[in-house]
């Protein structure tokens, strides 16, 4: 079986299709609204996004700044001192969004079910 080329074509097709299925499920099934901001492995802050007052949060890592803007129950990375600006391009994120990740500044903004995990950490 392992030398059968059709087997490997099937394995590749399976990997691709399961990734497609997982992407669709991940994209549409999330509704978490607690935001947890982690920098360098430590939870910096956690809060409920809905009903949160409009605010700008500034995070610094080795002299580089990330500015997170919170407005109308959504947030975005308004600016980031990093080469690729990928997190800025993600735009506004509401509840259930995928995490915002700024790799150079080790900043992760994730949406979780509740802030009890954050307290446990």
């Amino acid at each position: 079986m392992i030398r059968n080329q059709r087997f490997w074509v099937a394995v590749a097709a399976f990997v691709f299709l399961s990734a497609v299925a997982a992407s669709i499920i991940l994209y549409f099934s999330r509704s978490e609204s607690t935001v947890r901001i982690i920098q360098d492995g430590k939870v910096v802050t956690a809060f409920e996004l809905e009903g949160h007052p409009d605010e700008e949060l500034v995070f610094e890592y080795e002299g580089r700044k990330n500015i997170v803007e919170i407005k109308d129950g959504r947030l975005r990375m308004r600016s980031a001192d990093c080469p690729d600006k990928l997190c800025e391009r993600s735009g506004w994120c509401g509840k259930g969004s995928l995490p915002l990740i700024c790799l150079p500044n080790r900043l992760v903004i994730e949406f979780t079910a509740s802030d009890t995990d954050a307290v446990a950490r």
């Binding site: 080329q5 490997w8 590749a12 990997v15 990734a19 497609v20 982690i38 080790r106 992760v108 994730e110």
Partner: protein, 163 residues
């Protein structure tokens, strides 16, 4: 190491770096952290089917180290190395069982392994498992990119080597 072997490895490394530098000019068209077409891996896939395993490892490591210096993004080194080595080891093993008419299959699986390796490294660097929620998206994009690089590499292997 004889001169011919050394020259061939140096040539392949520089091919890969040229492709890498050209690819740097393409703006990221998906807002997906860690996503790249990885066109330089055309050379890696070719090498896996043509060179010895140790030589493949040397050109991949040289490409990643030099590429990181050229791109000026040292933070990405852990992700690139981990992804590159996962992909390389996986493809070296798969090349024993996947024949030269199915190099594209080997390349797709290599790309998925690259995504797995880079995500694992990202999660270690960031100390959070949140990055894994991007893995399915990366694998979907990676399979498409891997299919393309695989077809290119398969054409190169079949035209440049005689059995």
């Amino acid at each position: 190491m004889d001169t011919k072997r050394l020259t061939r490895m140096a040539l392949l490394t520089s091919f890969a770096l040229i492709i890498f530098v050209i690819e740097l000019q393409i703006p990221p068209f998906l807002p997906l952290p860690g996503f790249k077409l990885g066109l330089a891996n055309i050379v890696t896939v070719y090498a896996v089917y043509v060179l010895r395993p140790a030589d493949c490892a040397l050109i991949v490591i040289a490409r990643i180290l030099l590429g990181t210096i050229i791109a000026g993004n040292p933070m990405a080194l852990a992700m690139s190395l981990s992804g590159g080595l996962f992909c390389l080891i996986g493809m070296l093993l798969l090349s024993k069982v996947i024949d030269r008419r199915h190099i594209w299959v080997c390349s797709i699986l290599g790309a998925a392994l690259h995504n797995l390796g880079q995500t694992a490294a990202a999660s270690a660097v960031m100390q959070t498992s949140a990055v894994f929620s991007y893995l399915p998206f990366l694998i979907v994009a990676g399979c498409a990119a891997g299919l393309f690089t695989g077809i290119m590499a398969q054409a190169a292997v079949n035209r440049l080597t005689r059995k």
